[in-house]
Symmetry: C2
Subunit: 126 residues, 2 copies
DNA sequence: TTACGTATGTTAGTTTTCCTAACATATGAT
DNA sequence: ATCATATGTTAGGAAAACTAACATACGTAA
C-alpha cells in the first residue's frame, strides 16, 4: 500500500519541477550552474529532481524575489549546512563579503519598498 | 518549506514508474488499456502518474504474481470502490462470474503450491 | 554618459524518452 | 491442437530535454 517515497529520491522531471516551482527551465539550470542544486541524471543525461530539490528551488525563488542575489543565496545555504562557520569564512575575502552584504542591504530595501507599493495598489485594484 | 504533495498529483513519468514498480512500459500500458489505472496526459500526450497510480500498480503486480488475472483484478478493484455491490453484479453475468472465480481458485492454488515449493528449496539453496 | 555584471530570454541543433500500432510468443486452458 | 491471455519486440514518429551560443533588461560603477 505505501510505496515509501523519500524526499531525496530523484523522481521528478524538468517539466514537473517547472510546474511545481513556476520557474523556467533556464532558471533552474542556471541555479544548478551555481551549484545551488545537484539534480541526478538519467543514463540519457536528463535531470531528475527530488522533493528536496523542489524545496530548495522554492527557497531560491523566494530569496530572489526578496532581492537577494546568487552570492547571497549561496552564503545562506552554506550557513544552513554548517551554522558554526562564520558567513563568508571560506572562499570569499572580507572585502568581497562586505561588498556583497552592502549590495544585499540596498537591493533588499529597494525591493521591499516596491512590494509595499504593490501591496498598497492591490487594495484599490482588487 | 513544505511543497505540499498530494497522492493524486500526476508527478511521475513513465520511466520513474517503471523503476518504482519494476514493471515494463508494456505492462503498465496494458493495465491502463484494461482501465485499472487512468494516468493523466501532458499536452504532448505523455502519461503522468500519481503516487496513487504507483500504489495501484504495485497491487496489480502483487495480485498477478499470486495468479489472479485481469478479470479478477478488475473485480477486486470494483469491490474496493463500492464494497456494497455484490461481486460481478455489474457487467458480468453469473455464468461468467462463476467461470472466472473457478479459474481464480485453481490458478491461485497452483501458484501457492509453486511458491511453497520454492520456499522449501530456498531453505537448502540459501 | 558609457561600460559592465547579473539573471533570464530565445534560438538552433541534437539526443533521449515516450507514443501508438502491429506483429510475435510463451503459457495454460479447452 | 487450438485459443486466450499477458507480455516481448520492433518500427516510425513526436514530444521533451539537453547544451551552447547569442540577446537583453536593468542596476551599478567608472
Amino acid at each position: 500500500m505505501n510505496s515509501e517515497i523519500r524526499r531525496t529520491m530523484p523522481l521528478l522531471s524538468m517539466s514537473i519541477v517547472m510546474q511545481l516551482t513556476e520557474l523556467t527551465a533556464r532558471q533552474i539550470r542556471y541555479y544548478e550552474e551555481h551549484d545551488l542544486i545537484q539534480p541526478h541524471r538519467t543514463e540519457g543525461n536528463r535531470r531528475m529532481f527530488s522533493l528536496n530539490d523542489v524545496d530548495t528551488l522554492l527557497e531560491i525563488k523566494d530569496m530572489l524575489e526578496q532581492g537577494v542575489n546568487m552570492a547571497g543565496i549561496k552564503k545562506v545555504f552554506a550557513m544552513k549546512n554548517d551554522p558554526t562557520i562564520q558567513a563568508g569564512a571560506k572562499e570569499i575575502t572580507d572585502g568581497e563579503l562586505r561588498k556583497i552584504l552592502r549590495e544585499e542591504m540596498r537591493q533588499a530595501q529597494r525591493m521591499q519598498r516596491t512590494s509595499i507599493r504593490q501591496g498598497d495598489l492591490s487594495r484599490f485594484y482588487q
